[in-house]
Each structure stands twice: as C-alpha cells, then as structure tokens.
Symmetry: C2
Amino acid sequence: MSTAKRARKPASQSESLAEGVLAGDRRALARAITLIESTRDDHRREAAELLETLLPQAGRSIRLGISGVPGVGKSTFIEALGLKLIEAGHRVAVLAVDPSSQRSGGSILGDKTRMPELASAEAAFIRPSPSRGTLGGVARRTREAMLASEAAGFDVVIVETVGVGQSETTVADMVDLFLLLIAPGGGDELQGIKRGIMEIADLVVVNKADGQLKDEAGRTAAEYQGALQLLRPRSPHWTPRVLLCSALTGSGVPEVWEAVGAYRAAPGLPGEIAARRAEQARQWLWQEVQEGLMAALKADPAVKAEVAALEARVKAGDLPATAAAQVLLRAFLGSR
Amino acid sequence: MSTAKRARKPASQSESLAEGVLAGDRRALARAITLIESTRDDHRREAAELLETLLPQAGRSIRLGISGVPGVGKSTFIEALGLKLIEAGHRVAVLAVDPSSQRSGGSILGDKTRMPELASAEAAFIRPSPSRGTLGGVARRTREAMLASEAAGFDVVIVETVGVGQSETTVADMVDLFLLLIAPGGGDELQGIKRGIMEIADLVVVNKADGQLKDEAGRTAAEYQGALQLLRPRSPHWTPRVLLCSALTGSGVPEVWEAVGAYRAAPGLPGEIAARRAEQARQWLWQEVQEGLMAALKADPAVKAEVAALEARVKAGDLPATAAAQVLLRAFLGSR
C-alpha cells in the first residue's frame, strides 16, 4: 500500500505571515505591517484576514504615547527608556504617528539611526510612521500595527508623535498612558504649552535636567506642576505627575518607568484602562464608518459637481450651511 | 371702467415672518426661532426658506460666547453687561446652548426670570436653549437663531452655556470671542479649570470680586493669568486677558465691554474674525453633511440588524474595528 502524500494547499500569504508574527519573528512583523500599510485592494483584504487571525493574541501590553516637539530629545529618551525596559525583561515596540512625513520626505520619527542601540536589540522593534494619507489613515494603520506588535509578543508598545496639529489627541485615543516630553524652557526656546496637550498628559517629563540646564529644568517642572494642579484630573484614580530626567545620562529614566508602573497599579486603574480600551475600540469603529461614508460621498460624481461652488457660497455667507448640506446629501443619497 | 383689484397671493408664513424679523419685531423673531426649532418636516422646509431670505441681512454683530458653571453668577453678569450695552445704544440678543435641559426639564439658561430687567428691555431679546435633541441639533438651531437675530438688527449676540461636556467647544465654534466666567476659588468650591476650557477662552472674568471675596478673587485672577501665560496664544493678534468684576455692584463690567472692543479693534483681528467666520461656516457645512450621513446609516434597516452585535464584538476585542466598519458600510452603501 502506497502512502499517498496529501497535497498540502500552500499557506496564503496572510497565514504564513500570521505564523511568523505569532512566533515573535521581527521580520515577519515588519512584513505584516508593510501589508497593513499598503493601499492596494488585494493587500487590504489580506491585511484584514491577517488581523482577524492575530486579534485574539493582541492586547497584552501597556500602550504608551510619547509626544514632544523636535529638539526635546525624544529619540534619546525613547532609546534610554527602551533599553531599561529590555534590561528588565520586556519586549518593546516603537511605532510612530507623523502625518507630516509625506511633506518632509520621510519621518524623523521611528528613525533607527537616531536610536541605534535600541534598533539593534533583539527584544526591540522600531517602525517609522506610515508616510501616506490623512491623519485618520495613519491612525488606523498605526492601531493595526500596534495589534500586530502585541500579537508578536511585544509587551510595551510606544507610539511617538511630534505634537503637530491633532496628532497628539489621535495618539491619546489609542494608548493607555500619554507622556509629554519637554525641554527646560527659557529664552527663544520658550514654546509655551500647546493648548490642549495639558488635557491629555498623564505624565510630563522634563528632559535635559543635567549640566547647565539643571536649574532651569527644575523651574520648568514647577511651572508645569502648577499648571496641572489647576486642571481637573481626567481620572479619579490618577493625578498627573511631573518628573525630571536626563536621557543622556540616564538619570531619572527608571523613575519614569516606575511612574508608569504606579499608573497601572493604581487602585481602579486596571478596570479603567480596560474600559478605556473598549471605548477606544468602539470609537475607532465609528470613526472608520464615518470616514468610509465621507469618502464615498466625496467621491460621488453628483457631489463633486456641486461641492466647490457650494462651499464658496457658504463661506461667503450667501447660503446657509444647512441648505448646502441638504443639496449634497440629496445628491449622494438620491432616492433613499 | 371698474378698477379690478388684483388678487394678492397671501404671503407664505415664512415671507411674513421674514418681514417681521427684518423690521426688528421681537415677537416675529421669537416665532421665527420657534419655527427653526421645530422638527416637523413641513416646518423644516419653511425654516430653510426663511433662513435663505434672512441670510443676506445676517452677520452684522459681535458674537460672544459666555460660559460658566452654575453658581458663578452668569445671569447676573449677562444682565449687567446687557444693560450697559443697551445704555450705549446696542441691541442685545441672548441665546443658549444647554443640551442637558432635556433631562432637567427646562433650561436654567436664557431664563428671563433670572434677568428680569434685561428681559423687559425693548432692545433686548432673550431665548432659552432648544430643549430637544443632540448637542449637534441644538448647535444647529442656535446657529440659525443667531442668524435670525442678526437679521432682526441685534448687533450683540450672546450665546451662553453651562460648561458641561462639549457644549463649550460647540459654542466656541460659532462665536467670535469666548468669555469664561468664574467665581473666586476656595475650599469646597474649587472646581479646578475644566480641561480644554483654557484652550478656547479669549477673556477670563472673575466675578463676585466684592465684599469678603475680593481678595480671593484677586488671587484666583492671578492663578488664571499664570495658567494662561503658559499656553501658546491661539492668535498672534490677541493675548487672553483676565479681568475682575462684580456683576452685583456693576464694578468692572464696563471694562469687560472695553476688552471686547479692544479685541475687535486689535490690528489684524477683523480680518481674522472674518476668516474665522468663513471657516466656521465651512465646518458647519461638513458637520451637517456628516450628521446627515450618519443618521441615514443608523436608520438603515440592514445596518440596524447588525450594529449591536458588531459593537459588542469590537469592544470585547473579538473583531477588528476596521472589519466591523466594512460590514456596516457594505450593508448601507450596498452595491455602490
């Protein structure tokens, strides 16, 4: 009796990718994220399949948003923090939301050359921001990359952003804890606190608290502490903290991770984080629906024919916005 | 030869209402706003006609948003300010955005019994918040009521709100200047600054700066001044100011109106206000389109059949939000 080898159906791309990701293979994770970022229809279908396979293994991480303007030392800080975490046995993924990268020809975020030691660590995975599309599109791909990273066993996922426009609130909507990194204020460098950022920060870290800037850093920390005390806390379980550190020397970096630990361990916080993630997922669902609807409407030929003229009349005060909206809705929804 | 009287077609409701509004008749304005607030389809069509007729006469006012928690003395302040403005020859309309009024059975905002002297002035018009519907619906009706008030010759339009949820940013999106009214802090009354409010305030007024609270008011003003200085100004032409006043005694109230005047007269501000209004109108257009689309989707039977189960799976982390969104979009958009 011959043993007929059952012909094995070749694994689809998404099946073999999923295997690699679930095994913690960084190259598979990188290929998976490239698939997720692709705008080709066939790739999008495969990416959707891949994500459904990975989703049961996602979620087991702490999700950390880190924002700061260029020059505060974000890369140095993330590298210092990342290496400390790896030393303590964690696996760290660093993703980025930087919608401006399409204009500047490449993002400075998630740039491995600025975090060389971390980039070469086995237990780390660094990925630059998706560089095409709207902030909404970048956010979606980053959320999916985060799920893939968690499925690959990375238990700390950092999402960095540069604090331009709405990218900070976008990142705050996908993480458990939002850390604002700032440099000591003074002279021409005093940027002022970007309005809105105080609303979402759970931790404020003043970097470069070393050498000549040490005293200035202390004063900046006190200013932010004062400003935070004026604000009503977002959670009854956590009061935002201000910390000092020097990413360059490493001083203060362990205390940052301790503060993250204190946040996770605060009574009530785990339930709050779980509830927040459920709500973030629900909001993501409706954002996707809304974006899909608006995209379909804006692509509709009947709408395109009317839009520019209607917008101009509304801006000029010649046509009520409600009337103009009705015209567009009727053009799109037709006889519904 | 007999003179045949040409039979005059009776004016439609919206035509005669428009005439009354344009003549500055307060009762016609009240009826117009009632029409605007109605959810009946035939009324909505008439309201749309009415607004198209009034729109060319709208826009000639300063639009002032005033927010403050219950207890800060908003009614007393608005009455004191309103009477000063009327004394100076202005015509003042007071509208309100208070989506919670549907739950509390009647809004405390725009309550004439709390502003009796202003309510009885010929040159004033006070209207409570529309009491039904979502914040978006209340916002739309308030914007339309604002246009009608301007067409009726009211050259100062105040929109008051209680600072609950998103009603403040909603009001900020429809006015030229946003004023935050606060009471002297201290003891159990220290509310803390609601996150986000500092982002939109152009003027902060500390009320009740009289009698025993006078020193406390000064300290509170200094705190807010400090907090504001940490924030990057929204406009290069205007730095938010903190003022003290006592609506009860009237002290400081003229200075508030002077500050509004300084805002309007600041170099660059008029152009900025005009550009802001054009952008507010454009955003209003797309908000209306978005709301109309989402309402149509949520009312669709094919969507209703799937929504609850999909939401639950997404919240539980069992289904990616993007996949769930695709199901809903396909159910609604069908074969498009």
